[in-house]
Structures are given as structure tokens and as C-alpha cells.
């Protein structure tokens, strides 16, 4: 592959510093060293250590633990709060990804077919740029049951105040909605990028044949967008399963208990976090992380299969 580079550098052997560095192997490891240390220390070893911890009863205060075999895993199977967390997270992901993907495809097509304005794409991106904590607070204020503008607005149409973050039935859809608000512009931008690979001549030919915008969308855009859409889905689904900041701040503020009301928003990340840092059950928290990791891995494989991500229809 890089034969052409390697050969001349071997032929010519200058002196001193540059001679040492132009021998590929030595230079390569020098270039790699800092990143390699980072990768081994903070990715590779922690991953292995995480798996090890999941088989122990690690106690953070004493910083010790003994191997307890499959005890944590047995506990996990019978832990109703774990299953609750997976269910709550699942509901969140379905609402979040379902709506977000539809809206983002619509927005991306509009941005592609009607205006290529960078300004509009930029404005739609703003919520994605600010911290989740900021987003959570903005919407806590907007959706406040007593003095929030949204409930006032609903009130002008005679609709009763909705508790949004405050009721077990509305809290998850509300958090899903807030995160759609944050990620819509970003997701649409990724899809928009994919749309730029669809040749314009196809639309022109279809328009010449009298096709409507909707027909073009169905027969040209969607099939050709499929590979990009598949990758965007894989990325957003994985991200969606990891929701934490918004839940922690929106349900934990004002003296509330994170994950409430009554476990209704205790997503898996929050449950892992609580086990580790509130209950001092590091081993069990590691077990929950292993379960989440495996689950995400399977979800990703299944998605890639179903969406035939690597095949393009643009023959």
C-alpha cells in the first residue's frame, strides 16, 4: 500500500536525528507513543478491569474487593430495578429515535431541496452545541407547571397544565422531546450530508417526467439515503441509550430525586451511576455496565443486518 514511500526512505539514509526518524518502525512508535499510552491506560486496561470488577464486590471506600464469581450476574437477573431501567430506557429510545429520525429526514430534505442556506443549518445546530445541563434547565423553566410559558400557552387554549417532568407518565416522553429538540439539527445535518451524495440529475430527470416532490422523496431520496440513514440510526440509537445528563438534572433539581417520580425516569446510565457512587456497589455497577455493553453490541449488529448498511442502491 505505501510501498512508494517506504522505498526511498530506505534507500537514502541521512545522518543524525533525521536518520533515526526516517526509519519507519522507530518513528512510527514515537509518533504513536502518547496516544498509545492514553489508549492502553484509559480504554484498554479499564475495559478489561471493568469486566474483572463485574465479578467482584468492589468497595470504593476501602478500595478492596474479592471475587464473588457470578453472584453479581445472578443478582442482575433478579433485580427488578435493572429491568425497570432497561424498560424505561427502551421506551425513551423508541420515542426519541422514532420521532427524531422522521423529523430529521424531513428537515434534511427541506434543507436540501428548498434552501441550501448554511445559516439555517447553523441555527438548527445551536441546541446541540450547548451543554445538556443547560438544555435541561432551559426546558425545566419553559415547562414549569406553575409559571412556565408552555403551560401558560396551553392555558390560553383552555388546556389544563401538564406536569411534564413531574408525572410518571409524562416524564419520559418529555425528556425524549427535550433531547429531540437538542439533536434534531445535528441529526438532520448528518442526513443532509448524505443527501449531497444523491446526484441532482436524478431529481431533474424525475421532475422532467412530472414527478411530485413526494414521489421523488419516496422513489429517489429514501432508497439512495438508506446506507447513510443506517449509520445515522446506529450512532443515534447508541447515543440515545446513554441518556444521563438531562435526566439527572431535570429530575434531580429543586430537591427532587434523580430518576423520579417513582423510578419512572431511572434510565440505565443513572442506575449504574447510583450503584457506583451513591450505593458504593462498584462491582455491581460494573456488572450493569457489562450488560449494557453487550446489549448495545447486539443492537448494533442487528441494526446493521436489518438495514443492510454497507450496500448502496446507487448502482
Amino acid at each position: 500500500m505505501s510501498q512508494a514511500v517506504a522505498t526511498p526512505s530506505r534507500v537514502k539514509r541521512p545522518t543524525g536525528w533525521s536518520r533515526m526518524t526516517s526509519s519507519d518502525t522507530g518513528a512510527a512508535w514515537l509518533f504513536l507513543l502518547p496516544a498509545l499510552i492514553g489508549f492502553v491506560t484509559f480504554y484498554l486496561v479499564p475495559t478489561i478491569r471493568g469486566i474483572y470488577l463485574s465479578f467482584t464486590d468492589w468497595n470504593l471506600l476501602s478500595n478492596t474487593g474479592t471475587v464473588t464469581g457470578l453472584e453479581n450476574y445472578e443478582r442482575l437477573i433478579g433485580d427488578p430495578l435493572f429491568w425497570n431501567a432497561m424498560r424505561v430506557t427502551g421506551v425513551y429510545v423508541v420515542i426519541n429515535i422514532g420521532l427524531q429520525t422522521i423529523l430529521a429526514v424531513g428537515l434534511a430534505v427541506m434543507m436540501d431541496r428548498f434552501t441550501k442556506s448554511t445559516f439555517i443549518r447553523g441555527v438548527m445546530l445551536v441546541p446541540w452545541l450547548v451543554p445538556n445541563v443547560v438544555v435541561a434547565l432551559l426546558w425545566l423553566w419553559m415547562l414549569d407547571p406553575n409559571v412556565g410559558i408552555v403551560n401558560s400557552f396551553l392555558g390560553w387554549f383552555g388546556i389544563d397544565a401538564i406536569p411534564f417532568f413531574g408525572s410518571p407518565t409524562t416524564v419520559i416522553p418529555t425528556i425524549a422531546g427535550v433531547n429531540i429538540w437538542r439533536h434534531l439539527g445535528y441529526t438532520a445535518l448528518l442526513i443532509f450530508a448524505g443527501l449531497q451524495t444523491v446526484p441532482n440529475s436524478l431529481y431533474e430527470a424525475a421532475a422532467a417526467d412530472g414527478a411530485t416532490e413526494f414521489q421523488m422523496f419516496r422513489k429517489i431520496t429514501i432508497p439512495l439515503l438508506r446506507p447513510v440513514l443506517a449509520l445515522v440510526l446506529v450512532i443515534t440509537v447508541i447515543g440515545s441509550f446513554q441518556v444521563f445528563d438531562t435526566v439527572a438534572v431535570a429530575t434531580g433539581g429543586f430537591g427532587g430525586r434523580p430518576g423520579g417520580p417513582i423510578n419512572a425516569s431511572r434510565v440505565i446510565y443513572l442506575y449504574i451511576f447510583e450503584n457506583a457512587f451513591n450505593f458504593n456497589l462498584f462491582g455491581y455497577a460494573a456488572t450493569l455496565s457489562v450488560a449494557l455493553f453487550l446489549f448495545l453490541f447486539i443492537i448494533t449488529i442487528v441494526q446493521l443486518r436489518l438495514l443492510r448498511a454497507s450496500e448502496s442502491d446507487l448502482a
Partner: protein, 299 residues
């Protein structure tokens, strides 16, 4: 398309695109409004008086306009209410230090590694790169727990070192992102430099870095934003005020609020002040950020 559609298209071809165009603009306008309104509303609230907010005043302009909330949050005015504190200048300083250290380190060291993966021949290159890529699949919470134990054992809790440690040397994404660019640049210039006796380090600094300044800058922006927005890691390793960053401080400020009468004006002032540096930075570099995210989507 069918003959039917063809005929129909000829007949209404002139009016239909216009109608769908109007509809598209209405929808776009609505989306832009929904996107921007919460920011305006927070700003309006930050400059309002708390007493009037509790009375449920919903006018579009600040109610009882005042700058006292901003002054309180920035620390110019002593905090008299409830005991909740938000030391803006201190946490701003910590956020800037954290994001800057992470960005400079991560982009530099990831660029080194990306160059090695893109251009240098060594045994095990492909295998090592694949291993790096699998790092992309590991959910952050999975490594958070062991990393916390590690940082605690090193005695780095509540230090800048602990705050930046997992991010300052590399992320798999940064290495992957830059490798794509390095693969794309013209080999001949590098080869010429090497034939002229320039070592790999010189070739890298003098030729590759200037040629890929744009993507390096782009990655820098993305890294800075990500570091600035990070919440979970600083929350567990840097709770003390001396190293507390903006996001964590904002979370703490929220939990300290009384449930019955939160200091909404103060909260919104703090919220807008936390978002301001990112929004200003984006306003200055907007087009490049938009283009780069688009690019990161295609690759």
C-alpha cells in the same frame, strides 16, 4: 414515472412547486422559532425580577427589567437568597482550563498517531488501528468506573490532572477522523521531502500539518465543545469548588434550589452565562463547524 403522473405534472407543474415551497418555508420557520425561542425566553427571564416571575407574568419583554441576576451570578453582588451559590468566574476559569488542555493535547497526540497509521509502515499497524477503532464501541460509562478507581488511586481526585486525564492523550474518534484526512493528502510532496533528507518529524510538522490545518482546526472546535459540555466525568472526579467546572456548578446550583420557589431569574442568568462562550464561539466559526459535522457524517 407513470403516464398519469406525467400528464398531471404538466398541468399543475407551475402551481404545485410553489405551494410546497410555501409550506416548506412555513415548517422551516416554525422549526427555527422552536429552536431559538427557549434561548430568548431564558435571556428575557435572566433580566426579569423574580417576584414578578412568580406572579406568572408572561410578557415577551423582561418583567421588571433588572441586571441584578447577572450581577449576582457573576459575583458582583452578594447572594442573599437561599444560600445557593454559583461562582461564575471561578467555574468559567476551570472550564476554560479543562477544555483547553484537553483540546491541545488530544488534537496534537491524536494527529501524531493518525499520521503513523496513515503513512508509516510498521508491523501490526492494521491490527493496532482496528484495536483503536473498537474503543469507539465501548460506552463511556463502562470505562468510567475503572477510570475513577484509577484516578482515585493516583490521588488525582479534585485535580486538573484527574479532570483531563482520560481525554488529553487521545480519543479513538480523533485518531480515526484525522487519519482519514492524512490518507487523502497528496503523497508526492511528502515523498519529495523525505528524498531530500527530511525526517518523518520534519515532514509531519512542515508539510502535513500546514496542509491539514483546516481539519485540525475543525477537530479542535469539536473537541473543545465536547470537553466544555462534559458533565458525567467532572461530576465524579471534580466536585470540589477549586476545580468545579461550569456544567457541574450549574447542576449543583439547581439541586440547591428550594423546590417551592426556585430562583428562576438567577438560574436562567447562570444558564445563559454557561452557554454564552460556546454560542459566541460558534457565531465566529459557524460555517466551519457546520461543514465539519457534515464531513464527519459522510466519511
Amino acid at each position: 414515472m407513470t403516464a398519469d403522473a406525467h400528464g398531471l405534472g404538466d398541468m399543475v407543474g407551475r402551481s404545485r412547486p410553489r405551494m410546497s415551497r410555501v409550506l416548506a418555508w412555513v415548517v422551516l420557520g416554525l422549526l427555527l422559532f422552536v429552536t431559538l425561542f427557549p434561548f430568548y425566553w431564558a435571556l428575557r427571564t435572566a433580566f426579569s425580577s423574580n417576584e414578578l416571575l412568580f406572579a406568572g407574568e408572561q410578557q415577551l419583554l423582561p418583567v421588571g427589567p433588572t441586571t441584578i441576576n447577572v450581577e449576582r451570578v457573576v459575583g458582583l453582588e452578594p447572594i442573599r437568597q437561599g444560600g445557593a451559590t454559583f461562582d461564575y468566574l471561578n467555574v468559567l476559569k476551570n472550564s476554560v482550563i479543562m477544555a483547553t488542555l484537553i483540546t491541545v493535547g488530544q488534537v496534537t497526540f491524536s494527529a501524531f498517531a493518525a499520521y503513523a497509521f496513515a503513512r508509516l509502515k510498521f508491523r501490526g499497524r492494521e491490527a493496532l488501528f482496528t484495536l483503536f477503532l473498537t474503543g469507539l464501541m465501548v460506552p463511556p460509562i463502562f470505562t468510567l468506573i475503572p477510570n475513577f478507581v484509577l484516578v482515585k488511586n493516583l490521588g488525582w481526585l479534585n485535580t486538573y490532572a484527574g479532570l483531563v486525564a482520560p481525554y488529553i492523550l487521545m480519543t479513538p474518534f480523533a485518531v480515526f477522523f484525522l487519519r482519514q484526512f492524512f490518507l487523502g493528502i497528496n503523497r508526492e510532496i511528502e515523498e519529495a521531502a523525505i528524498i531530500d533528507g527530511a525526517g518523518h518529524f520534519r515532514t509531519f510538522w512542515r508539510i502535513v500539518v500546514p496542509m491539514t490545518a483546516a481539519p485540525l482546526f475543525t477537530l479542535g472546535i469539536l473537541t473543545y465543545i465536547t470537553a466544555w459540555n462534559e458533565y458525567l466525568w467532572p461530576l465524579v472526579v471534580a466536585r470540589e469548588e477549586s476545580v468545579r467546572v461550569l456544567t457541574v456548578a450549574l447542576g449543583v446550583f439547581t439541586t440547591q434550589q428550594p423546590g417551592t420557589s426556585p430562583d428562576w431569574a438567577g438560574l436562567m442568568a447562570a444558564t445563559m452565562l454557561a452557554a454564552a462562550p460556546i454560542i459566541v464561539g460558534f457565531a465566529l466559526t459557524g460555517r466551519r463547524v457546520v461543514d465539519s459535522i457534515q464531513f464527519s457524517g459522510i466519511k
